[in-house]
C-alpha cells in the first residue's frame, strides 16, 4: 500500500531507519528545522582523516523527515567530508526514488542537518579546542 505517494524506499527507511541515535563526544553536531513547523533533525558525526566514520540522527517529524534522515546517514557513512558537503537535498530525494512534491521543501532537511554537522566539525578543528556536544533533546 503506498501511503500519501511515498516510494517503497521511503517506507522502508521509515519502518527500519538506519543509524538512529546519538554519538557521545561527536566531532560534529548539526540541528535544523523547527518543532513549530513540524520537523526537527539532529545529526551527529565522527570524523577521522576527513572521513565520516560514524553518523547518527534523531528526528521529530513526518514519514519523509525520518526517511531522509536515515537515507542521508547511509549515503555519507565512509565518505569524505568534502564530498559529503556536496550531497544535496535532491540527491537524498533521488536516492529514495523521489518524494511527493509537497514534501520536497519542508521535510527534506536531512542534507542541511548533515552540512551543519560538518561545518560544526570544521569550526572545532579551526579552533583546535574541544566543544562539548550539546545536550540531546535541548
Amino acid at each position: 500500500m503506498a501511503q500519501i505517494g511515498y516510494s517503497k524506499k521511503v517506507l522502508d527507511h521509515f519502518m527500519s531507519p538506519r543509524n538512529v541515535g546519538t554519538i557521545q563526544n561527536a566531532d560534529g553536531y548539526g540541528k535544523v528545522g523547527n518543532p513549530v513547523c513540524g520537523d526537527l533533525m539532529e545529526m551527529f558525526i565522527k570524523v577521522k582523516d576527513d572521513i565520516i566514520t560514524d553518523i547518527k540522527f534523531k528526528t521529530f517529524g513526518c514519514g519523509s523527515a525520518i526517511a531522509t534522515s536515515s537515507m542521508v546517514t547511509e549515503m555519507v557513512k565512509g565518505m569524505s567530508i568534502d564530498k559529503a558537503m556536496k550531497v544535496t537535498r535532491n540527491d537524498v530525494a533521488d536516492e529514495l526514488d523521489g518524494l511527493p512534491p509537497q514534501k520536497m521543501h519542508c521535510s527534506n532537511l536531512a542534507a542541511d542537518a548533515l552540512h551543519e554537522a560538518i561545518k560544526d566539525y570544521r569550526r572545532r578543528q579551526a579552533k583546535g579546542d574541544q566543544v562539548p556536544t550539546p545536550e540531546v533533546g535541548e
Partner: protein, 384 residues
C-alpha cells in the same frame, strides 16, 4: 493479520443491507424521476421514499424539507451561499464558529469577497462555542450563522439548542453541519430550532457522493446550481436514484439502530480513552463528556501525526487519522486544533480514532498496544 479500521469519519463501508436495497436502481431500469412514464414514476417513488426516510432521521417537518445534493460540501455551499444571497436584503453578515469544516468557511470567505461581513466565533479548549462571544458577534444584520453540530476532528457536541436561541434572538437563520453527528446521536431539527442542516450519506453507511440539506419550511434559499429545476428548483441535475435510495435506507437503519450501537461504541471509546491516556504526555483533545459516542481524539508530545498514522498502518494494520500539517494539502496544522488553543508543535502530534460497526470490543487492547508501541518507537527517534 486482519486490519482494524478506525477512520470512519473519513469514509465508511456501505452497509450491505443498503447496497442490497439500492442495487435494483442501478442494475435494473433506473428511470428518471422527471419522466412521466411508468419507469420514471418508479424512480420518482424511490426518490420520495428516500426523502421521507432522511426527514425521519432528523425529525424534519415534512419530506419536502430535504434537498438531495452531491454530498456535505455541496449542501454546506447551498446552505451558506444560497441562504445569504437570497436574504441579502435583510443583512449582509455571516457568522461561523472557528471549528467549522472548510466547506463552510470557504463559501463564507467567498461571500466576504462579495461584500458580506464575515465573523468567526471562538471556542474554548474543549471546542464548545463561546456563548458570550456568540451573543456579541451576532447582530440584527446577521442573516446566517453556521455552527457545527459535532466536530469531526475533536468530537465535541455543541449545545445547539442554546445556540439556536441566541441566533434567533439576535440574528436570522442557523445552519448546522451535522455531517459527523447524523446517525450517531439523535437529531431533532424542530425541537433544536435548526433552520438548515447538512447531512452526508457516507457518514452513516450510505453510498458516497450523496448528501442532503434540510431547509425549514418558509426559509428562503436560492439555488447555487441552476438548471432543469429538480429538487424544488434548488438543486438542478438528474437525481442519482441509486445513491439517494441508498442514503434513505441508510438513514432508516441508522435511526433504528443508533441507540444500541452508540451505547456499544461509547463503552469501547471510554475504554480506549482511559487506556491511551495512561501513556506519558498523552492528552485528550475535545470535550471529555460532550463528545460523539464513537470518537476518541488525542495528542502526544514530541512526535508527529503523519508518522503516527504511518506506523499504525504499516506496523499494526490499524488505520487512524491525524490533524497534522504534514498530512494536509496546505501543510498547515488543522485549524480546529489551533482554534482550541493548541500550539503548532502540539497540533502536529494529533491522532483521531473514529469507531464504527465493524469494530469489536476485543480490539481495544490490540489498539492500545499498537498506540503504545507507536508512541514509544517514534519518541525514541525524536529530536525533541
Amino acid at each position: 493479520m486482519k486490519g482494524i479500521y478506525l477512520d470512519h469519519a473519513s469514509s465508511m463501508p456501505v452497509d450491505p443491507r443498503v447496497l442490497e436495497f439500492a442495487q435494483p436502481y442501478l442494475r435494473k431500469s433506473c428511470g428518471n424521476p422527471s419522466s412521466l412514464h411508468s419507469v420514471g414514476l418508479k424512480a420518482k417513488r424511490a426518490l420520495e421514499e428516500a426523502r421521507g426516510k432522511v426527514a425521519g432521521l432528523i425529525n424534519a417537518e415534512e419530506p419536502e424539507s430535504i434537498i438531495f445534493t452531491s454530498g456535505a460540501t455541496e449542501a454546506n455551499n447551498l446552505a451558506i451561499k444560497g441562504t445569504a444571497l437570497r436574504n441579502a436584503n435583510k443583512g449582509k453578515k455571516v457568522v461561523a464558529s472557528a471549528i467549522e469544516h472548510i466547506s463552510v468557511l470557504n463559501p463564507m470567505k467567498e461571500l466576504q469577497k462579495g461584500g458580506f461581513q464575515f465573523n468567526l466565533v471562538p471556542v474554548d479548549y474543549t471546542g464548545i462555542v463561546d456563548m458570550g462571544q456568540l451573543r456579541e458577534i451576532i447582530s440584527g444584520d446577521t442573516v446566517l450563522t453556521s455552527i457545527v453540530l459535532a466536530n469531526n476532528e475533536i468530537g465535541t457536541i455543541e449545545p445547539i439548542r442554546e445556540i439556536a436561541e441566541v441566533v434567533h434572538e439576535r440574528g436570522l437563520y442557523l445552519h448546522c453541519d451535522a455531517t459527523a453527528a447524523a446517525g450517531r446521536i439523535p437529531i431533532n431539527v424542530q425541537a433544536s430550532g435548526i433552520d438548515l442542516l447538512t447531512l452526508s450519506s457516507n457518514d452513516f453507511y450510505g453510498p458516497q457522493g450523496t448528501g442532503a440539506l434540510y431547509i425549514r419550511p418558509k426559509v428562503r434559499v436560492q439555488p447555487i446550481l441552476p438548471g432543469g429545476g429538480q429538487e424544488r428548483g434548488l438543486r438542478s441535475g438528474t437525481e442519482n436514484i441509486f445513491a439517494i435510495a441508498g442514503m434513505g435506507e441508510a438513514a432508516r437503519i441508522a435511526q433504528t439502530e443508533m441507540g444500541e450501537e452508540s451505547k456499544r461504541l461509547k463503552r469501547m471509546r471510554d475504554k480506549l480513552i482511559s487506556e491511551i491516556l495512561k501513556i506519558e504526555e498523552a492528552y485528550l483533545t475535545g470535550h471529555p463528556t460532550e463528545r460523539l459516542p464513537h470518537h476518541a481524539s488525542f495528542r502526544f508530545s514530541r512526535i508527529e501525526g503523519e508518522s503516527i498514522l504511518l506506523n499504525m498502518d504499516m506496523r499494526h494494520k490499524i488505520q487512524v487519522a491525524t490533524g497534522s500539517a504534514c498530512s494536509s494539502k496546505t501543510l498547515e496544522p488543522s485549524h480546529v486544533l489551533l482554534a482550541i488553543g493548541l500550539k503548532h508543535e502540539e497540533a502536529h502530534g494529533s491522532m483521531v480514532i473514529t469507531l464504527g460497526r465493524s469494530n469489536k470490543a476485543e480490539e481495544v487492547p490490540i489498539i492500545v498496544d499498537a498506540v503504545q508501541e507507536t508512541v514509544e518507537r517514534l519518541r525514541r527517534m525524536s529530536a525533541l
